[in-house]
């Protein structure tokens, strides 16, 4: 590690840094005009439906303060549902309700909140508190995910989600984010969730990253996080790869969940996926990006051919 080239180690490992991601990848491949497709979850849902990509069932959308009264009619017949800001980022503003006891709602994380509290939360969402630019927002009420049991031994409450980074339609890296007690049931790495890398070819999980340390066992359940075979792996990769046709964005993070009954569902697409996935996989994104750039032109023809190439070559 020379004094003159302090970054040599990182560049040899093919690590993607924040500046390169912003300037050379996102600005080059993600046209600004396409951002609304992924920044608004309602738009993403509609687009996904057009491309036969399954998403959680939509119960209703509240777009203005006057519509809040519809909240009751939307949720009346449901015991469980999820409330999300349509333009939220990083999982903020999401409330997952798993059951109701009269006027009291029990969240996925086990807290109880009153309906009035939740309605106040929805007014916050509508006022744009959780939106990226602070604009007015709408609130989505959709089906609560019933997570597949495959990760139940390594998830503390909450719903694990699978993040696949897709470069020019080719899935190049994936991880599963597992909630912890510290993350309050959210699959958010900032919040303390752990991220386990997934082998692209086999769909087997490896060791995980927790904050910035490598861990082999879940901090709360104590079970090993590696060696779990992700079900529907090829379908997951294919759904992620279709994001190119769906949005026209060349660099996307596709977030998916595994539903016990419906299999993999697309939660949202992210036009500015984070860099922490590299730690979870102990591999650099830039190295894989360069490999995709050197791939023969015909592999980019269909989502299937891209997934096929990725599984063979990454």
């Amino acid at each position: 590690m020379g004094m003159l080239r302090p970054f040599k180690g990182l560049s040899q490992a093919g690590v993607l840094g924040m500046n390169t991601r912003n300037a050379d990848i996102i600005m080059a491949l993600n046209p600004r005009s396409k951002f609304p497709l992924v920044d608004d979850k309602v738009a993403t849902k509609e687009l996904a439906a057009l491309h036969n990509i399954p998403t959680p069932a939509l119960y209703g959308v509240i777009t203005k303060h006057g519509d809040i009264k519809h909240f009751h009619s939307i949720t009346e017949s449901r015991d469980s549902f999820a409330v999300k800001p349509a333009r939220g980022s990083g999982g903020s503003g999401i409330v997952l309700v798993k059951e109701r006891q009269g006027d009291i709602l029990i969240t996925q994380a086990g807290k109880s909140i009153s309906t009035a509290d939740l309605i106040y939360h929805i007014t916050d969402i509508l006022s744009g508190i959780f939106s990226l630019e602070g604009h007015d927002d709408s609130a989505i009420i959709e089906a609560l995910i019933h997570p597949d049991d495959v990760f139940s031994s390594v998830a503390y409450r909450g719903v694990p989600d699978i993040r696949v980074v897709v470069y020019r339609g080719v899935p190049i890296m994936a991880m599963v984010r597992l909630p912890t007690a510290a993350s309050d049931g959210k699959a958010n790495l900032h919040g303390g969730a752990i991220g386990a890398g997934i082998d692209m070819k086999t769909g087997l999980t490896a060791n995980a990253v927790h904050k910035s340390a490598i861990v082999s066992h879940h901090p709360d359940t104590g079970n090993p996080v590696g060696g779990i075979k992700v079900p529907y792996w090829e379908k997951i990769l294919l759904m992620a790869a279709r994001s190119l046709e769906m949005t026209g964005l060349g660099y996307v993070g596709a977030d998916m969940v595994l539903d016990r009954d419906r299999g993999p569902l697309l939660l949202e697409l992210n036009a500015r996926p984070g860099l922490a996935i590299q730690m979870a996989n102990r591999a650099g994104l830039l190295g894989r990006i360069r490999r995709v750039d050197r791939a023969p032109g015909d592999i980019f023809a269909t989502p299937e051919s891209r997934v096929d190439w990725a599984q063979q070559n990454i």
Partner: protein, 509 residues
């Protein structure tokens, strides 16, 4: 992708440096404008005695026609009245009236900046003239005798005259009878007059100048010397060596053209003294005086021309882009986290009123109070805009309390918050709260510390007077800053903080 940015950045940098170089080389701008330069203070004192009611004192004052820039001047005239007169190149102060029974104390004081030689040239080149008192008979005789030399070039003509006066030898190599007669004619005059007569006879404009040696001290009277017109300016003739030295650098000219520098009529002047002192003055200030009198377009459109009460604002504004460049460097090269781009800059501007210590202390205290209040507000279920209004009111209420406490205990800084900071503080409280909620207290505190560090550094930069003055004198440096900003924007390498973030890769590699 990278090329156009590089070309634009380089073009901006080159244009900026070109204008700076042009100012320095062609317009004589100072290379280091913040360095000190010298200003001379000229002072004349005297007491005028006289019984007549129309006593007069005429004093030749420093004048721009002599290549002197008068920064400020003041007079003392007692019961006498004062007027200014122009007489050829001279500026004459006239005190008139009846001096008191004990004599009237009169004084004049001026701060004078000397233009570099050649910076000032009269519009109309001077003409040759003979000194007063010489008869037309003598003139035609001398002109006839000097005729052979009049056809020579300028420097040869000048040399002949200087040699004649220096050696006072009119025998000449030829032993010419005409020369001897010339010597005869000139015998009754002193050296300066001889020079003036002979120079006029060979068509070289010349004049006598009265003034002072440019050395610090007090003298009782002025002295005179002869200057010749060299075509570019007035050249001083050293009376001992009879050589031309560059004028103005070593002398303070007061009166040109043979007039005496101090004249009194119907009265008598006593206790007469001339005093010169040298003062240090920042070079940009010196330059400001020069630029505000220049006709060059770049000087005409200089920031020095705007009224002084607005200049201070621009001195600060010119450095804000530098602050923005710095934030780019700290964020994209080092990896600091800050609340947005402008908040640290605005904080730095706010610190100008309160000072760094009080500014940071007040900022921290109000953000903490605001955060606690914001937590409370969260339970009250207020919508975004009204909630922000409550926070604004709270922040301003804190300002009021601080001002009252500051007034009671004499802490001025508590009252000097100004208008800007309430926006920053309100936004910071809200952002801080959201970051705590989303990413935890640790990230929020880190971001706050990053913002504070960046604003402190920005504050130190915009308060750095050397930099303020340099940018004020050379506002085109903004183009250079813009070029650097573009270059920094094209830096796509790793951030220093990523060495830590991705350290597991370094060890593994």
């Amino acid at each position: 992708m990278k090329r156009p940015a590089l070309i634009v950045a380089m073009a901006l940098i080159v244009i900026s440096l070109f204008i700076v170089a042009y100012r320095i080389i062609s317009l004589g701008y100072p290379l280091t404008p913040a360095k000190p330069d010298y200003v001379w203070t000229f002072r004349f004192d005297g007491v005028l005695h006289g019984t007549a009611k129309d006593s007069l004192l005429l004093l030749s004052l420093p004048s721009e026609q002599h290549g002197q820039i008068i920064l400020e001047e003041g007079i003392e005239s007692g019961s006498m009245s004062f007027n200014l007169l122009k007489e050829y190149d001279n500026r004459i102060g006239v005190w008139s009236g009846r001096p008191g029974p004990e004599g009237e104390y009169i004084s004049y004081k001026a701060s004078v900046l000397l233009q570099p030689t050649g910076a000032y040239t009269p519009v109309v080149p001077p003409r040759t003239s003979y000194p007063y008192g010489i008869t037309t008979g003598e003139i035609s005789l001398i002109e006839g005798l000097m005729a052979p030399w009049r056809v020579l070039n300028f420097s040869a003509r000048l040399q002949v005259v200087l040699n004649l006066v220096k050696k006072h030898d009119f025998s000449g190599p030829q032993g010419n009878a005409d020369l001897l007669r010339l010597g005869e004619v000139l015998r009754k005059y002193d050296n300066p007059t001889r020079l003036l007569v002979l120079l006029a006879a060979v068509n070289i404009p010349a004049r006598t100048v009265e003034g002072l040696d440019l050395v610090e001290g007090v003298v009782g009277k002025t002295f005179s010397w002869v200057e010749v017109w060299t075509g570019q300016g007035w050249g001083h003739i050293d009376p001992e060596r009879m050589e031309i030295t560059s004028s103005k650098t070593g002398f303070l000219a007061l009166s040109a053209g043979g007039m005496s520098a101090v004249r009194a009529s119907a009265g008598e002047l006593s206790a007469k003294r001339f005093e010169l002192t040298r003062n240090v003055m920042s070079r940009w200030r010196v330059f400001f005086e020069r630029a505000s009198r220049s006709g060059s377009i770049l000087d005409q459109w200089s920031l020095f021309r705007i009224p002084p009460e607005f200049q201070q604002t621009f001195r600060i504004l010119l450095l804000v882009p530098l602050g923005a460049l710095l934030i780019t460097l700290l964020r994209n090269f080092v990896g600091f986290q800050t609340f947005g781009i402008f908040m640290p800059v605005l904080m730095a501007l706010a610190f100008r009123n309160t000072g760094l210590f009080y500014g940071l202390a007040m900022f921290t205290a109000i953000v903490l109070i605001g955060y606690v209040a914001r937590r409370g507000l969260n339970r009250m279920r207020l919508l975004l805009i009204p909630r922000m209004s409550v926070l604004v009111t709270l922040v301003i209420f804190c300002f009021i309390i601080l001002a009252l406490v500051g007034n009671k205990f004499g802490v001025r800084q508590f009252m000097a918050v100004g208008l800007l900071p309430f926006v920053i503080l309100t936004m910071t409280i809200e952002r801080f709260f959201v970051v705590v909620e989303e990413h935890g207290m640790r990230t929020a505190v880190e971001t706050t510390l990053g913002s504070a560090a960046v604003s402190v550094i920005t504050y130190l930069i915009i308060q750095w007077e050397v930099l303020q003055i340099t940018f004020f004198v050379y506002p085109e440096l903004l183009l250079l800053v813009m070029g650097l900003q573009i270059l920094a924007g094209r830096y796509t390498g790793y951030r220093l903080s990523e060495l830590i973030r991705f350290r597991s890769f370094r060890d593994g590699a």
